[in-house]
Symmetry: C2
Subunit: 308 residues, 2 copies
């Protein structure tokens, strides 16, 4: 196996993490937390989502959060935008990058955004055009690349079609989502083998949810295939042990533990993120799922390990 010397982590905890949490984190705490993330060496933070508050009450304070954070030079602040109204709010909030999203599977796309795939294209084309016209970057998410909760297997041709269309529209980067955390390393290898013949590796990010514990293994094979951009969520935020639908992204902590151990540079300070994890854990009021965070927390207590 081979792996790159450095990779880029895109922290999605404030958006993908918090959107799945039942506890409402106050605007003040969100801002304090994002400021901690900004100071950790992370260069990309997805801070919120400008969807209608009715759909994601946890992020109903998107504009206030975006207005309240202390932006660190060199850090790109991204927000998710579903439609024209959301984009306008994101612009008003002076977001650096707008992320658009759709699914590779018809049923998930319809259930998630109430449109067919073909009906979604013109909406996203409009959003991407507007974003580029004001000199900002656009990122594209494709959900259910490795499996759909309604349809099961997802046709690679549908992934190709959606990806090509989004790139043609002008996105700077495509994030391939294992939305429900079903992917295995062989599947990742096969999917990337097809996609990397069409798109450059440095424009592809992988977005693995860790619903079945395979996210780091899937990242490992992605590294071997030449991918260098990964989405992750601090503490594995968003997970819930009893609801696989709410299972979080791979934990930034676990990803950093593995990458740094392998000598792969990320530019991120694990110690600072440990404190940011403790902060948000206290606010969420439950143990974060990240195993390396749990181990690090316990070690803070000075415990030693004795097993065969």
């Amino acid at each position: 196996m081979k792996w790159p010397e450095k990779i880029t982590i895109k922290e999605v905890g404030p958006r993908d993490g918090l959107q799945n949490e039942k506890t409402f984190i106050s605007t003040e705490d969100k801002i304090a937390w994002i400021n901690q993330l900004s100071e950790s060496g992370l260069k990309h933070i997805e801070i919120t989502s400008f969807v209608h508050p009715k759909w994601i009450p946890a992020l109903s304070d998107a504009a206030a959060v975006a207005a309240g954070i202390t932006k660190v030079p060199g850090v790109t602040y991204t927000a998710l935008v579903p439609n024209r109204h959301g984009l306008e709010r994101a612009f008003q909030a002076d977001i650096d990058e707008a992320a658009v999203f759709m699914s590779a599977s018809e049923t998930h796309n319809r259930k998630n955004i109430n449109k067919t795939i073909d009906e979604t294209f013109p909406v996203l084309r409009d959003l991407i055009r507007e974003t580029l016209s004001v000199g900002k970057a656009s990122r594209g998410y494709v959900s259910t690349v490795f499996g759909c909760p309604y349809e099961g297997n997802v046709d690679i041709d549908s992934v190709i079609r959606v990806s090509e269309t989004l790139f043609d529209m002008g996105i700077a980067e495509l994030s391939l989502g294992d939305t429900i955390g079903v992917a295995n390393p062989k599947q990742v290898q096969e999917v990337l083998d097809v996609l990397l013949k069409r798109f450059p590796a440095d424009k592809i990010a992988m977005h693995f949810h860790d619903t079945r514990g395979t996210a780091l293994a899937n990242i490992l094979v992605s590294l071997d295939m030449g991918i260098t951009i990964f989405d992750s969520s601090l503490g594995g935020l968003g997970g819930c042990p009893y609801a696989p639908g709410a299972a979080g992204n791979v934990a930034t902590n676990d990803l950093l533990y593995m990458l740094h151990g392998m000598g792969i540079h990320t530019g991120v300070d694990q110690e600072k993120l440990l404190h940011a994890s403790c902060f948000i854990q206290e606010k969420i009021g439950k143990t974060l799922p990240s195993k390396s965070f749990q181990a690090a927390s316990a070690q803070l207590g000075g415990k030693h390990e004795k097993t065969v």
Copy 2:
């Protein structure tokens, strides 16, 4: 990356899992559970440990468990043995295979078995000789191969020395333990690169604890290096979110999810193990750490997944 067509799983939940659990599982429930494991297609089950009950009260009923299970032809039933007295008890209980253990790091070896590495060798030589003399197989565990809770890094020369000595003594198979779950894939590659020049891959098993979430990634690189034998614990049993020292082995469920998804044959029936997981979870009285088990449990409830 390349991977083999089939691999062997050695289920250690009844020993390595239960020994770290505070809840005492009744002898009757242990027997019922091991019988479920025997019917799942698993061909190797480590059912208990004949250490002094004072050290591991959870397994104080080793003899009764061994006597009570219904042995399935073709399944090898293993037990851990620390000394002559334990070995005699294991023989009386008609165990198929005796597993001996020691550490690659001096301090962990001393803290764990109260002897230096050099003092341990003659004890294990005696145990292995006795085991072979009655026509049974001997398995060797080396702990702290990838890191020691007291010393930190472990010298590869020490791993080589302990491994060579155990093979010279006559063990049929060596299980390399990441006892405290600190290994990363690059380290696994480097360690195996050295060891596989000295020992055949089909005599090496990997035993990863999943303390920091890297176990499946470490298994993936092990597969790529030619390893085909893995120890695992049903449900990830043995883990405790607040005590990294008690963190369980990689969950058999997660391992199977990944391997079967990759088309790798194990001979194990995931559905049967799902039921065996539910059984032991109920007896332990807390949620098992295995993510794929949690996802499968939730799906039994018919939930669907809706996230971006």
